[in-house]
């Protein structure tokens, strides 16, 4: 299979519902924690080393063949906010729909049958990457990059931030994305080979869980999460 499949899967226009989510940025903007490009960079850095690392490790573990049910339960355990668990499942379901059209496979059909309302997005991402012929490293790259590209695009809409500045933030974080992907894949290998899914990273940012619950209660908002 082609390495270029990674570009298809990682494309921000891949029709899997991500455009309606801000990765917590809408709540952070409203709370005054993101006011411009400098804050955005710090916000994305925090997200990369917490949500990004966890998502990368889960996606990689799914590629390496970890049990999907166990992974999904472990992802639940790492997501205290019910709003975020709901969003992760919705995005997983949407990703699976698009992926079944892009890379038809019995494994993806089986996953859709097993989780009709969706599994956690990073878990689905790993299974999808495998169906697309991609590696654990590729899947972790997708997950880690998504953890920062989502908020960066959202902040362009939320603050009318200069889109060149937002892209500059992503470019400056690239080396750190490499680092996080290495750690995520190593953790996934360890978990799959001996330690089990409980040993997967559990880095968290309580403020984003709290922000997600706060955001879910708003009557007027631009993004779904």
């Amino acid at each position: 299979m082609s390495r270029a499949a990674l570009l298809v899967l990682a494309d921000g226009r891949f029709p899997a519902g991500g455009h309606a989510h801000s990765g917590g940025a809408e709540a952070a903007v409203k709370a005054g924690r993101i006011t411009g490009a400098a804050d955005l960079e710090e916000y994305c850095r925090g997200r990369l080393h917490t949500a990004g690392l966890v998502a990368g490790a889960f996606a990689a573990a799914a590629v390496l063949g970890a049990d999907v049910r166990e992974l999904d339960a472990a992802a639940d355990a790492r997501t205290p906010s019910a709003a975020l668990r709901g969003a992760a499942r919705r995005l997983g379901r949407q990703l699976l729909r698009a992926a079944r059209a892009a890379w038809p496979s019995a494994e993806l059909d089986a996953l859709a049958r097993e989780f009709p309302k969706g599994a956690h997005q990073p878990v689905v991402l790993g299974v999808v990457a495998r169906a697309a012929g991609l590696s654990a490293v590729d899947a972790a790259y997708c997950a880690a990059y998504e953890s920062v590209s989502g908020p960066a695009t959202a902040v362009v809409r939320l603050l009318s931030l200069d889109p060149f500045e937002a892209t500059g933030v992503l470019a400056r974080l690239a080396a750190e994305v490499d680092l996080v992907v290495d750690r995520a894949v190593e953790a996934a290998r360890e978990a799959v080979e001996e330690a089990g899914v409980d040993a997967l990273p559990a880095a968290s940012a309580p403020l984003s869980e709290i922000g997600a619950e706060w955001h879910a209660g708003w009557a007027v908002r631009l993004f779904a999460s």
Partner: protein
């Protein structure tokens, strides 16, 4: 797309698949688009009132940043609450109805699972611009709603909604004398843009045209279930 020909044991459908996983035919899906304030939600409400005794109906709304359309329909009690779903669009309804339809597909499928069986699902898109059209992967037919107060040159200017929608509704004809819109000119321009595609002039204030829009929906449904 038909990945799985054995629908009885297949997983959920992908997009425009005409059948549900259990093999039954899914509901007809009609999209309503058009500029902000042209009367899309009011037309959805009028269609629900006209058709709800003869058909099993549900509505999906795509608001720009609120749930106002869904809340209006709930307040007006045009349908029971379990038949109305609001999709969140990240401030871009045109993305959610055309470029990335996954959330809307989930909404229509969940409505069929939870409130079904359904004959018809109306999908309203919050207006953001004149070029917003629905993907064929989401709806089977689309209605574009403009109004006479938005300027009587809109049919002349054309654009994908005005030109290609399966039905063009020119709403608020009651306001034409007050805003100086020339209905005959709008009709001629629409005809020039759309050739044989139908146009209905409607006023929800006086009720004219509502029956024509409902009759058009019935025809589409007859063709869908034939």
């Amino acid at each position: 797309m038909h990945l799985d020909h054995d629908h009885h044991h297949g997983p959920v459908a992908l997009s425009a698949d005409a059948h549900r996983p259990d093999g039954s035919r899914r509901a007809l899906r009609i999209g309503l688009g058009g500029p902000v304030g042209s009367g899309k939600t009011a037309t959805v409400a009028a269609l629900c009132r006209a058709l709800r005794t003869e058909l099993s109906l549900a509505v999906v709304t795509n608001d720009i940043y609120t749930r106002e359309d869904a809340e209006f329909l709930l307040r007006e009690a045009v349908l029971p609450p379990e038949r109305i779903t609001a999709v969140e669009t990240g401030a871009c309804p045109h993305t959610a109805i055309r470029d990335d339809i996954s959330a809307n597909l989930e909404a229509v499928e969940d409505l069929e699972d939870e409130a079904g069986p359904l004959d018809l699902i109306l999908v309203e898109s919050g207006g953001d611009n004149l070029t917003a059209t629905f993907s064929k992967g989401l709806v089977d037919a689309q209605i574009f709603v403009i109004d006479v107060a938005g300027g009587d040159d809109i049919p002349r200017k054309g654009g994908p909604g005005v030109t290609t929608a399966d039905l063009l509704v020119v709403n608020k004809t009651d306001l034409a004398p007050y805003v100086g819109s020339d209905l005959a000119r709008m009709a001629a321009d629409a005809k020039a843009q759309r050739a044989e595609l139908p146009v209905v002039f409607q006023s929800l204030r006086s009720g004219t045209g509502v029956a024509d829009v409902a009759a058009w929906v019935r025809e589409r449904l007859a063709a869908w279930t034939a």
